[in-house]
């Protein structure tokens, strides 16, 4: 049986989220997979042409409906289910978008979901982290069972541009509920790189001590062109907003360089940075667990080290 993968595109109405290109790479890892991306939006034309450029995508389906202006799982799920018939796999990213939506799709399809796929070993066999990444589980599903999956974006490179998939309008007959309504989203506008995809991340923990003190990290990040992240402790304490949280229940990231400043390194945090190429730890406690995973460790007072670093980097 041929493998046909449907990928649910994540987007903000104007731009495709990079998570979609990572799902494409995951699907391309399955030998012989034919990949279709579905874009559900109020106006899908610009998004569809972005998706069509992703190398490896054969077809882009668009589902246009004013109800799709905001990504509501209860509204999107029946539309995806209506399209899922011919596909063997339905994938979405393991971001808050996909985590919210994909299980709803799986339940309507009466099938299992494989969450956080980090490798597709065959069309039916997948590896995924469990216990905050402290164990890796290989799961297998019977051939012939439709599979819903969320893709752990940190495990995959983005698919390159250069493709030219056919774009097709899909007509979907599905009853869309009105019981769920979008009210607002409060996203801080920032000129810094996006935390999820940044190649460099400066991240701060409880030791920063206040929201004011946390700002020294923004200044260092700007010198490096880095995104800013935070540990759960720093977010809980109100030093940084929730969207900066890195870890088991926050964002799982894979930057080239991750600098952990004043972060002790609880396992829940470490699971979010395992795939970072180089980890730097700056902490006054030389016994902190973060040093066990750090490639470069510096024991000392962060309030002295961070300004020094900033000066040295600016002078280079």
């Amino acid at each position: 049986m041929s493998t046909k993968v449907l990928i649910v595109a994540e987007h903000d109405g104007a731009k495709l989220n990079p998570s979609t290109a990572k799902c494409v790479t995951c699907a391309r890892g399955i030998t012989g997979a034919e990949i279709t991306v579905v874009v559900c939006a109020a106006d899908a034309s610009a998004l569809a042409s972005q998706a069509a450029q992703l190398a490896g995508v054969t077809k882009v389906l668009t589902v246009e409906n004013p109800a799709n202006a905001h990504a509501l799982a209860a509204v999107l799920a029946p539309q995806i289910v209506a399209l899922a018939g011919p596909f063997t796999h339905v994938f979405g990213p393991s971001t808050t978008f996909g985590k919210d939506l994909m299980p709803r799709i799986a339940a309507l399809l009466d099938t299992a979901q494989v969450s956080d796929i980090m490798a597709a070993e065959s069309p039916t066999r997948f590896r995924r982290p469990i216990y905050a990444g402290n164990a890796i589980l290989t799961v297998e599903i019977d051939a012939g069972t439709k599979i819903v999956g969320t893709v752990r974006t940190a495990s995959f490179e983005s698919a390159a541009n250069g493709g030219s998939a056919a774009i097709e309008k899909a007509s979907v007959t599905a009853d869309l509920p009105t019981h769920t309504r979008f009210v607002s989203v409060s996203a801080a506008k920032s000129d810094r790189p996006d935390l999820q995809t940044a190649s460099r991340v400066i991240s701060g923990g409880r030791a920063l001590g206040s929201a004011d003190a946390f700002k020294i990290l923004y200044s260092l990040a700007d010198k490096l062109g880095a995104a800013v992240g935070a540990s759960r402790a720093a977010v809980d304490a109100g030093y940084a907003p929730n969207e900066l949280q890195v870890g088991q229940t926050g964002k799982i990231i894979a930057p080239e360089l991750y600098v952990a400043i004043g972060i002790s390194g609880a396992i829940q945090h470490l699971t979010g940075i395992k795939d970072a190429r180089t980890i730097v730890a700056i902490n006054k406690d030389g016994e902190a667990p973060i040093f066990e995973v750090a490639d470069l460790g510096l024991v000392g007072d962060l309030f002295q080290i961070v300004p020094e670093l900033e000066k040295l980097i600016a002078a280079r």
């Binding site: 994909m102 299980p103 709803r104 216990y131 470069l296």
Partner: protein, 249 residues
């Protein structure tokens, strides 16, 4: 009666260092401390607070799992749940099975809402709440950090990748909790005594008409790859040099 159902799961305590069995058949759970999944504790706390504010009259805690889940149900009763429902199930209970079982209880109890943790810290699946909402054909508000009830609706603030999103959902609905929704209360000794007298009903999957179906075969468990031990540098200047050498600056 205005009722809230809370789903809980018994998991390896979050402080336990997880070890994979040498034969790769699972993780070591013998003699390991078990607890209520921390996100589910937050779910229960939220339900109790809603009841204390007059938004509900009864909080019913539900679990689907083996017989040894009962201590966690008793803990939930000690926290303040009014009664407990235990759907006994052996073997691996996949999220879809758990959702189907909870749906059966939803049909019986007709709650105003069901609150569950956004994920269990053992399998990290993050599926059961969404699946329940789908099967029930009701709204879902996942990853909640604030819940306000008024006029048969819930206004829920959700922690999403972009920041904070607010949804309005008609009740009944399924809500899953994020970390910052609340801080669960501590259980006091007299409450533990009282909890022993609270009703705990035991059911089975077959009695409620749910098939125990495992679709995903657990092939093997492995420890994660370890990172190479790194080096220490003595000051900021040495750090910058080391980063340059790695081509990172």
């Amino acid at each position: 009666m205005k009722r809230i159902l809370v789903g809980i799961k018994r998991v390896v305590d979050y402080n336990v260092r997880i070890r994979v069995k040498p034969d790769g058949s699972g993780v070591i759970t013998d003699g390991v401390k078990m607890s209520i999944n921390p996100f589910d504790e937050i779910a229960l706390e939220e339900a109790l607070r809603i009841k204390e504010r007059g938004g509900a009259e009864e909080v019913v805690v539900v679990t689907v799992g083996p017989a040894d889940c009962q201590p966690q149900l008793r803990t939930a009763l000690a926290m303040g749940a009014d009664r407990a429902l235990h759907v006994q199930a052996d073997g691996v209970v996949e999220p879809l099975v758990a959702a189907r079982a909870i749906l059966k209880l939803v049909e019986r109890e007709e709650p105003l809402m069901v609150i569950l943790g956004k994920q269990a810290i053992d399998d990290d699946n993050s599926q059961t709440g969404q699946m329940l909402a789908a099967l029930w054909n009701r709204p879902q508000a996942t990853f909640a950090s604030k819940v306000e009830l008024a006029d048969g609706k819930a206004r829920v603030t959700r922690e999403v990748d972009a920041g904070l999103e607010t949804l309005e959902v008609d009740l009944p609905a399924v809500i899953t909790t994020d970390l910052r929704l609340n801080e669960p209360r501590y259980v006091k000794l007299p409450d533990i005594m009282k909890a022993k007298k609270k009703p705990l009903e035991t059911l089975t999957l077959s009695a409620i008409g749910v098939e125990q179906k495992q679709r995903l075969k657990l092939v093997k468990f492995e420890p994660p790859p370890q990172r190479q031990k790194g080096i220490r540098v003595k000051d900021a200047a040495e750090l910058v040099e080391a980063l340059k050498k790695k081509g990172l600056l």
